[in-house]
């Protein structure tokens, strides 16, 4: 109780002091008031410099984070595509049988090497949770490669246990791909969160700018009324600068975030969809080989083919409809899907040899040729078309982020300079009035 009484007493004392000072200010002489207004305005202008720098820096950092996350997303998706592409080559090589063609082997090796190198880069740009997941992907990739090698070694000796190794490799690849998809999803969230932060970052600049503007307007009005001067030129110029900072600065700031947003909504979204289509496409091609390896009993893998193909179709259609990207790949995938239907109808009708021939090398059969079915050629057309689109969209997205970043780099110095200039002008403006009292 005694403590409460003491606290209440202290508060009452502080309030009384504040009231006394305010009354004293009201009764203070004009030079004192002028000095006080000058200090307040100069401090507000300096605050604008600091808040502007902070605001732009936060936005720049957020856009930078979004750019890095976007780059990471493209990187992780590339690893996924490399892995499913390698698996597709391994499955098709096994289906063909015999000694694996040297160029196919080289292609498989280069995909695995690219996936491993891509993983190293991706780990560096990952959050700690994602890095753990990517480490597990890296370990599984090593296991996958080992299993494929075992399958090959057995196949070369004519040992059917190679098929069991191939199945295991496929199962590992499937787990590995799921892990990569998890990382992709969390990276997409990072892009979205960074962009949301970039959007929120302007408020400090707006508040500081308005504070300075209010200080200048009130100050100018006070000078005009008290000293009967129509315009205090330095304060008026300072006001114009504040308005310029708020409009031009926020405009540039807004354009930077808008440019980054456009990159996310446009090329990055398109690249994301095309990469998903590519990964699902190669997965479908693997499933096609597996339906034939399981001669006449590939129903489970055909279900997998259908699921993957539905992902390809949906991703490409969304990309084509929303961004005008991947429309060519839609057509080439449709052609491949038709060819795949021909493979399935041959296998289902018991004509396994012709189905395999068609799936792996295109058919020499006149009837099949007449139908225009050629799965390897059609799939290659899809692979090339989607790859070109992916590279173009990824590059455009990356360029847009770089541009956004460059704009903000200049802007932050302009806002700091403007704040200092406003402080100097405020000082000059009030100093002129003070000089009249010396």
């Amino acid at each position: 109780m005694a403590t409460l009484t003491r606290s209440t007493g202290r508060f009452a004392g502080s309030a009384a002091t504040w009231i006394r000072q305010t009354v004293a200010l009201r009764s203070a002489d004009s030079p004192t008031k002028l000095r006080l207004a000058m200090v307040v305005t100069v401090l507000a202008a300096l605050l604008l410099s600091i808040a502007g720098w902070y605001s732009i820096d936060r936005r720049d950092t957020a856009i930078g984070d979004a750019a890095r996350a976007a780059e990471q997303l493209i990187q992780v998706q590339d690893v996924r595509v490399q892995v499913v592409q390698a698996d597709s080559i391994a499955s098709n090589a096994y289906l063909v049988g015999g000694q694996e063609a040297a160029d196919q082997r080289a292609e498989y090796d280069s995909r695995i090497a690219a996936a491993a190198a891509g993983l190293l880069v991706a780990v560096q740009g990952a959050t700690s949770v994602d890095a753990t997941e990517l480490e597990s992907v890296n370990q599984r990739l090593a296991v996958y490669v080992g299993l494929v090698e075992q399958a090959r070694a057995n196949n070369r000796q004519g040992f059917p246990v190679g098929a069991a190794y191939q199945r295991q490799a496929r199962a590992i690849a499937s787990v590995l791909v799921d892990s990569l998809r998890t990382v992709e999803q969390s990276t997409r969230q990072r892009v979205d969160d960074s962009m949301a932060r970039a959007h929120r970052a302007s408020w400090t600049l707006i508040v500081a700018g308005l504070l300075v503007l209010v200080a200048l307007v009130v100050g100018s009005w006070w000078l005009a009324v008290r000293w009967r001067r129509l315009v205090n030129v330095p304060l008026a110029i300072a006001g114009v600068i504040v308005v310029l900072v708020l409009t031009v600065g926020l405009g540039v700031n807004g354009r930077a975030v808008s440019k980054a947003g456009d990159a996310v909504r446009g090329p990055l979204s398109a690249a994301d969809l095309v990469a998903q289509a590519r990964a699902a496409g190669f997965d479908a091609r693997s499933s096609e080989a597996l339906t034939l390896i399981n001669r006449g009993n590939g129903a489970a893998y055909e279900t997998g083919w259908q699921l993957s193909s539905s992902i390809v179709a949906e991703a490409l259609l969304r990309s084509c409809d929303s961004y005008g990207v991947g429309c060519g790949a839609v057509l080439s995938y449709e052609a491949y899907a038709d060819s795949h239907a021909m493979v399935r109808s041959l296998d289902d009708a018991g004509d396994w040899d012709r189905a395999v021939e068609l799936a792996t090398a295109g058919s020499l059969d006149a009837l099949v040729q007449q139908s225009g079915s050629n799965p390897p050629a059609d799939f290659d057309a899809f692979a090339v078309a989607s790859s070109d689109e992916l590279v173009e969209q990824s590059t455009t997205a990356s360029q847009a982020f770089d541009d956004a970043d460059a704009q903000l780099l200049v802007l932050r110095w302009i806002v700091v300079a403007a704040g200092l200039a406003i402080a100097a002008l405020a000082f000059t403006g009030y100093e002129r009035r003070l000089r009249e009292y010396r």
Binding site: F159, A163, E184, V191, L250, N253, G254, S269, D272, R295
Partner: protein, 338 residues
Amino acid sequence: MNARTRGRRWPAAVCALGMVVGAACSGDATLPDEVAGSIAEATTTPTTAAPACPDPSAYASMTYEPLEVLPEPGDMPDGTTMAEIQDRGQLVVGVSADTLLFGSRNPLNGDIEGFDIDVLKTVARAIFGDGGEERIVYKVITYAQRLPSLEAGDVDIVAHTMTINCNRWLRIAFSSVYYQAGQKVLVKDKERFPDVFALRDAGARVCAPEGSTNIDEISKAEYAGVIVVPKPDISDCLVAMQQGQADATTGDDTVLAGFAAQDPSTELVGDAFTQEPYGLGMNLDDSDLVQFVNAVLDQARADGTLEQIARTWLVDTGALDAEDVPPVPEPDYTRALP
């Protein structure tokens, strides 16, 4: 639609305002959701619970009388299952593609070959005549798919190192026995595990294929102590041994001989502890086909074809010594027609 996609659809005008204010489009620059994909029609195979065999001790190898007179190839009697197959122009069979010596895919040329396949070719020639083996449509099935594929009518005949037993006779029909196999164990360490009982006493991990009689046998109380490692297919058991997930594999001696040929560090040990009479499986309703196949097998026994097939796949490949190959089993035709 969730927040991510909703954000994407904000009108452009609001974002234009955002260029000035710099904050109005908060949260609108989002990436599209991951594409999940879908399958228009989910196809699931209903699983049938295995009925219990009322009298497991009944002699399972009993089958129907063979046809008295084997029809001429290419001239199957009207209204029979054989005529249906002949008209279709295809004999659809369920086989293994990874059981070396009995039914395996030759990785070098993609052909499926082995003991079971040659028996099927004999049946195909009896239906279609010379070149009948070209009319065979192979469906590669797992151990667990053998009975369901016959019940569903997906295949006409299953030749998949399949043991004839009472429980299976409740669901499918069998031909006469064409090979007498026995269950053994394949180990990596012959000194430590000289037979199945040593595996039991050591509490070793023994792999067996799901849905096989082998896994039923090794799970019996007699072998309690063994840790059973089930795998979808028996070739996965060899992989499991090579990867150190299992100390041994149990299966038919025929199949395990194929494994030993693929991995010299493994060895077949001990005596066979079961009798595994192999028969061709057919649909329970196709008793006429069973009778036809029995007549074909009778002929193959008589003219030495079955013996020759056994020699080709078990002796010529070096898997077994000639004296270890069991004699061609005698048929038992005492099962009454349904």
